[in-house]
Amino acid sequence: MTLLKDLTRGLWRENPIFRLLIGMCPTLAVTNAAINGLAMGLATSFVLICSSIIISLIKNFIPSKVRIPCFIIVIATFVTIADLVLAAFFPDIHAVLGLFVPLIVVNCVILGRAEAFASKNPVHRSIFDALGMSIGFTWALLLISIVREILGMGSVFGINILGKAFTPFLIMVLPPGAFLAMGVLLGIMNTIQDKLATR
């Protein structure tokens, strides 16, 4: 029962992007096409889950005064792995995501979960918590990137769905579109949350 609670926490109630507003930099920067949003979500998930497991395993050996640098080293190691794997097997996606793969290190979602959950709870609960947060992060990224790709290019995952009659709003795949799409989506999510809360 607790495990299920750990898993579902990240999906909506404590969704890192729409409810807690952390990890905003990659959310805005790489969501110009659905495939990029998905790739970023999965790369972050990999780092989050692996580092949660390791941190939860070694939590008793780390002196509490130097815990943050220790967490960062564990996270940075997995980010290096993710960076090299992406560069080797998916060079196209790696080129598009560019700077934002190494920047997963400073994604507050990961350090936040390490500090708030993995360093205080046993391994199996940490895995479920990391998994839930990962799914929550990935669906949010995917939603934003799909909205931006439909409005900006008229397509989803590169497949044209709106036909020739639709004039794409190019602005949506450029930097301003990220802020506008995220702002409006956040407004919609707040409305849904208010509806849920009053019911």
């Binding site: 507003l21 952390i22 905003m24 930099c25 805005l28 920067a29 943050i68 640098p69 960062i72 080293i73 940075a76 190691t77 980010v79 290096t80 960076d83 090299l84 700077l99 190494p102 920047l103 290190v105 400073v106 994604n107 507050c108 350090l111 602005i171 450029l174 930097p175 301003p176 579109g177 990220a178 802020f179 506008l180 995220m182 702002g183 409006v184 956040l186 407004g187 919609i188 707040n190 409305t191 208010d194």
Partner: protein
């Protein structure tokens, strides 16, 4: 002349916040009052200029000579930045308690500001010289200060505005950032970098 172009490029054309999406967290979190936003900007500029220098030294005197730049770049940069922030904090606390009070909690928070690590990685990527790195770091910090102070100015006015309830807080801030970003797009092409 090249130094000036690098500086202006980092301030307006490729503004770190509005067109590179680096440092969004403090941009949204610490932009409610002009005074604190400006202090945060100054602190970030200071750390950015120092970390531009530190990461350039690490990259060119340690990582490249030993052939480690593929494997240890991320780990070493983040450690250097974290210790640098700690060091700056101690120095400011000793030399100028007034400034330390003014910056408050913003100093330690800078460690997890992705603009700093992003700057270190960009400098390594662009293979700038030491002086160019310093100009780039200072420009990036100035651009951040410009964006966050403007944002705080708009948000102070906005307190008296009639914002729809679901958009209150971060949502309206993001929409404002979108409009600012659109305005900054007018600078693109001004300097080809």
């Amino acid at each position: 002349m090249k130094l000036f172009l690098i500086f202006m490029g980092a301030v307006v054309v490729n503004n770190f916040v509005l067109s590179r999406f680096l440092g969004i967290c403090p941009f949204l979190g610490v932009s409610k009052k002009i005074e604190t936003a400006f202090s945060m900007g100054i602190a970030v500029t200071f750390v950015m200029t120092l970390s531009a220098m530190a990461s350039w030294l690490i990259q060119n005197y340690i990582l490249i000579p030993f052939g480690l730049e593929r494997f240890l770049q991320i780990v070493s940069f983040i450690l250097v930045i974290a210790s640098l922030v700690q060091f700056v904090e101690m120095v400011i606390q000793k030399t100028s308690p007034a400034l330390y009070q003014a910056l408050g909690i913003y100093l330690p928070l800078i460690t997890t500001n992705c603009a700093i690590l992003g700057l270190a990685l960009l400098i390594a990527l662009k293979e700038y010289s030491l002086i160019e790195s310093l100009a780039f770091g200072f420009g990036a910090g100035a651009g951040f200060t410009l964006a966050i102070t403007m944002m705080a100015g708009i948000r102070e006015e906005l307190q008296f505005g009639d914002v729809p309830k679901p958009l209150e807080g971060a949502a309206i801030a993001l929409i404002i950032a979108g409009l600012m970003s659109m305005a900054f797009m007018g600078f693109s092409g001004l300097i080809a970098m």
